[in-house]
Amino acid sequence: MHLYEVLRRPLITEKNTAIQAPQGKYAFEVAGEANKEQVKLAVEKAFKVSVTQVNVMTVPGKGRRMRGRWVMSPSWKKAIVTLKPGDKIELFEGV
């Protein structure tokens, strides 16, 4: 797969913003078929930073009842990227 297809969107949540500044960790939703190496390359290329560590996990879809039937929201893959100390991704920093 192409590098540009790896990163889906940044995840900006309360928990993620809490670990950004102190730990230099940024979270993304990534393509399900992407692996750690691809995420690393994609982040380094997109944001001109160096990545020291990538953790990925699959977030299972959640079921809910809809019109009397049980439907599942899709599972997706989350990647938490640790940057070299001092590096920053502006996208998360506000305007």
Binding site: N16, T17, G94
Partner: protein, 432 residues
Amino acid sequence: MKVTREKTENSQAFLRIEMEPAEVEESLEQSYHRLVRKASIPGFRKGKAPRAVLERYLGRDSLLEDALNNLLPQAYDEAVKEQEIEAIATPSIEIAQTDPVVFKATVPLKPTIELGDYHQIQLTPEPVELTDDEVDTVIEQLRRQHATWEPVERPANFDDLVALDIESHIEGKPFINQQGVQYQILHDQPFPVPGFAEHLPGMKGGEEKEFKLQLPKDYPRGELAGKEARFKVRVSEIKQQRLPELDDEFATSVNPDFKTFDSLRERISANLRLMAEEKARREFEERIIEAVVENSQVEFPPVLAEMEIARLLDQQMRRLQASDIGLEEYLGRINKTGEELREELRPLATKRVTSSLVLGRIAEEEKIEVADAEIDAELENMVQSATENKDEMQKLLDSPQARNSVEQILTTRKTIQRLVEIAGGSIDAQGK
């Protein structure tokens, strides 16, 4: 905060207030704390979003706007204090630039009133004159009101009352069609069409007549203006006006209280005199006020005139409501926009503000005060003159606001009274 006073004119101070970035930052921080509690941002519990996220979510400008809205009144107060000026109404403030933040405030100041030497004003009231002619006119009117109509067998004449069948067309369409209308033939009667009445004299009972008339250009029904109307008129009855004799009997018929014609005449003449005196007194007062105002130098901020205009408009609105016409309709009828109406009221409003300011100052100068007893008396008077709901009126007037406004009215009245005395010469220039 840096405050500079750019200029002062028309009793308005123009202030330029420049905020220090630190002050703005502090206010921004406060705004953030206030706004974050309400903003629900996906991914965050309420009140937990960091400032950067909130700023991005709401936009930096809206945060700044909130901050400035809070900062503004406070900064304005301080600026006014620093400049040692006294504002009498809310200022108009605009934000000139945001980096650094600069406000421009236009502060209405207390009006400056320089009274001229109003003790020098000497005016004499116009003498009231009542001629016999005026009395005669009123009597003549009464006579017409009490006239009787008797049928006559002769061609119609002016001042006669005729019963008419009217049939008329404009370009083939029916215009006025009425049977048995009572119509008094008067000179220059504009109804139903100017010139209509002139066609009637000379007609006999039962006679028919056809004629054409050109409708005037300013005929109220615009679509018909300037068109030609064909009239077919039938006179069925002619009545002559019989004016009552001016004798004691006539006087009694007007009002049983009058036994003789002379007493009626006397009463009319007395009433007319009273009215004329009242009118003369008002005119005299107005002339004095005008003279005093002319003599004084008054400068006030435009806000006051605006407020007066608003009050005048409000009064008009209330009158309109009473007659069941909406503002839109009224504006349409007089063919003006609200803006034009305001402009039209401006000179009047300016005049009223000026004279009330001058009168207020004179009241101070002359130490005119109204005693509580006088207010009570006036309130009592108002209650007594109320035709119905005396209790309600009593309640309405039994509030501090009502007392206040009555006090003001009385003060103004007394001030005018004093001015009349001064100008009329009953108090000499030293105010003794």
